[in-house]
């Protein structure tokens, strides 16, 4: 196995495209090294992208935030403006792994690992985040929900790298939140999770909403009916009940060592309800 640490995106793309064997990208490494240790993959080339300055920055522009693919989640928590604008995305990023993992893992890595139970992805999908991709045939930008193609598989072509996650500026009185269910209080993979992002009018009525579910299907689910259930309401009990029922109905979970189908269906609704209420409170404050 060989290790390379390119200093530019072009070099990184070049290395990946030229490699006949299996190449893997290393940012935080908290997924890659675990899969290597378990013998699931044995890459021939590892491309460490942490020396590429452009990927290590969080930039706020008029259009919104650009989070470099090599920015550790711990840095996201230490960026007040980002935390203020997108508390849901940041709290989701900060739930990935332990504090030791937080110092290295990235939301781009979390996205590209394509685990149905990835913590940051439901919040990013709810936020309408987009992924910037560089590759041999130039750059392109897609919605984050289009990147995972199934458990452990992505829609990235050969030689393509996610270079940044984009969070567009959004109207005032907006708020987002992310909740997950885990049996312990830390260190677990989400049994089921939900990200909610919504905007209110001045009277506190929801004008737009996105509701996403994690660990409830092969990839993160964007549940339009659930969002529909709360648009036009102030999250009265009936609206919350409809939100929960829609989420439970939409998810197609599996029985596995972490949870049962019945449990995930029920608790998906509970997580979505609770996340919606937190997002609503955050939107009213602004």
């Amino acid at each position: 196995m060989r290790y390379a640490r390119p200093r530019s995106i072009e070099d990184a793309v070049g290395l990946l495209a030229a490699e006949e064997g299996r190449a893997s990208i290393l940012a935080g490494g908290s997924d890659l090294l675990v899969r290597m240790k378990g013998g699931f993959i044995e890459p021939d080339l590892i491309v460490d992208i942490k020396a590429i300055e452009d990927l290590r920055e969080i930039r706020e522009t008029a259009e919104g935030f650009r989070i470099g693919a090599a920015v550790p989640c711990a840095i996201m928590r230490e960026t007040p403006a980002l935390k203020k604008a997108w508390p849901g995305v940041v709290e989701a990023a900060n739930l990935i792994g332990s504090k030791q993992v937080q110092g290295r893992c990235t939301i781009a890595g979390n996205l590209c690992n394509a685990s149905p139970a990835a913590d940051s992805v439901p919040a990013m999908v709810a936020a309408g985040a987009r992924a910037m991709i560089a590759g041999p045939s130039g750059t392109r930008t897609i919605a984050v929900e289009d990147l995972p193609a199934g458990p452990g598989r992505t829609s990235l072509g050969k030689g393509e790298i996610v270079t940044a996650i984009l969070l567009d500026k959004r109207p005032p009185r907006s708020g987002d939140a992310y909740l997950r269910f885990i049996p312990r209080t830390e260190m677990d993979i989400a049994v089921v999770s939900s990200g909610v992002n919504l905007t209110l009018d001045e009277k506190g009525v929801v004008t737009s909403a996105r509701v996403a579910l994690g660990a409830a299907a092969p990839t993160v689910l964007l549940v339009k009916e659930a969002a529909g259930a709360i648009v036009g309401t102030r999250l009265e009990e009936a609206a919350l009940q409809a939100l929960a029922e829609n989420c439970s109905a939409a998810c197609r979970p599996i029985d596995d060592k972490r949870g049962t189908i019945a449990f995930r269906k029920k608790v998906a609704g509970v997580m979505a309800r609770r996340a919606a209420m937190i997002a609503y409170d955050r939107a009213r404050v602004k």
Partner: protein
């Protein structure tokens, strides 16, 4: 052909150079190449924290870092925590409060507690518990570990 990667880095303030394979982790380099067996392998997958070290002021699991990534970094391990023969307040309080029994998790806990107090000198019990949740201990039930960190925090604040 030589497939080893030459790495030069700083460990506990000392310049160190080593050769390692691409797939070798920093933990394997510390223990098997540099003879620094203070960091322990409890799981090899980032789930137990027994291998915790501090890289450029960031607490990390050294089993989830490649040796090659250490190039040009500043690494602090348990072997460098004391100041000569003067124990760090956390080391002293861990002994005084019996915050360890078998002690296999203690190096990792001390690194995590040191990092915690560096960023939050006056943590609440809950902040200590969540700050140390990445380190597993099977002997103590954590009670005396939390008390030792609280005591060390007050001593260090006072100092």
């Amino acid at each position: 052909m030589m497939s080893g990667i030459a790495v030069s880095t700083t460990i506990n303030g000392d310049e160190v150079e080593f050769l390692c394979q691409a797939e070798e982790t920093l933990l394997e380099v510390l223990r098997d190449r540099l003879g620094m067996t203070g960091a322990k392998e409890g799981c090899g997958t980032g789930d137990c924290g027994a291998c915790s070290v501090i890289v450029d002021d960031r607490l990390v699991c050294s089993c989830l870092v490649l040796g090659a990534e250490a190039e040009g970094r500043r690494i602090d391990t348990i072997e460098g925590m004391a100041d000569g023969d003067k124990l760090h307040p956390l080391q002293q309080k861990f002994i005084e409060h019996a915050a360890l029994q078998c002690g296999i998790c203690t190096p990792g806990f001390l690194m995590a507690a040191k990092d915690l107090l560096a960023k939050n000198p006056d943590p609440t019990e809950e902040e200590i518990r969540f700050g140390l949740a990445g380190n597993l201990c099977r002997c103590t039930g954590y009670d005396k570990i939390v008390r030792a960190v609280q005591d060390a925090a007050s001593v260090m604040k006072g100092a």
